[in-house]
Point group: D3
Chain length 64, copies 6
């Protein structure tokens, strides 16, 4: 039943997300002892205009 | 003051969301005893690339 | 390490978000005593179709 | 796959939560067309010291 | 309608939370132009066992 | 800057959480290419009274 939420900057493609989902699911099975079907992984893509560290928007701090 | 968050696959239209909002709000009033104005319902549309069950992205598991 | 999440209607521009990030970060430093670098502020833009108050979607309740 | 999160003041007992879970799950099946097993409902109990409306903590605004 | 969520280490008292709620609410009114009654602030207290930075639990990284 | 949130049933000890934090952080560095210091992992312990699957509270479905 674990749900793992991954918040990261937008722009990662489907292949990266599938890899993260596979590895996080295996990690939860191995470490927590849950079944494979019970694990959910949800990705939240966050734009650089919507995330600030140390008071500065990432769009300014980490321009492309 | 209850806030109810509904995370579901993107693609549901406004009519479905209004129906859910109406029924969830009535349910909270009836069951929890709060006032109508205090209930908030927030929808989060999640793409099939952003949700994995059992380690597999929904875009692969449930192709359209 | 505080993380502050601001959920509001979509449509606010980068300048408003930078102002909120600056002021929230200063407030956390002053009030909680954390370092500037440890504060994160994340914005979630919510459409008026995705937020209901009192059982009514905001897109109906507050049309533009 | 829908996940519904209910944030409300702490203090509701198991019977109330079971009733909400039952009705929300039935509502999602009927309205969204998902299967029963795919619906998850998660409750978050929030103390009155941790929720403010209009700038005032609920513990002050709504004392027991 | 803005909702602001503040996640921080547990241990801050009611006075600190009231101060944060007051200032965040005023900031939202001033910057976003919403009404006072529409602003909600929710605090989430997180224990040092439940927050890791750089791969290390805060309970180890920042012992009391 | 990624933040990974792990929601699971309460009862896992510090050792399990540290192991999850270590492995998730390494996975993010390797897969997403972020720095170690930028990764945060937050655990949310959920009681069996607060999580329902298929309309049934886990406290009933999975009694200890």
């Amino acid at each position: 039943m674990p749900t793992v939420r991954v918040e990261m900057f937008e722009g990662r493609d489907r292949e990266v997300k599938q890899k993260l989902a596979t590895e996080i699911t295996q990690l939860m099975i191995k470490t927590v002892g849950c079944t494979q079907d019970s694990v959910q992984v949800v990705f939240t893509d966050i734009s650089k205009e919507n995330w600030a560290m140390g008071g500065e928007l990432a769009v300014t701090k980490f321009p492309d």
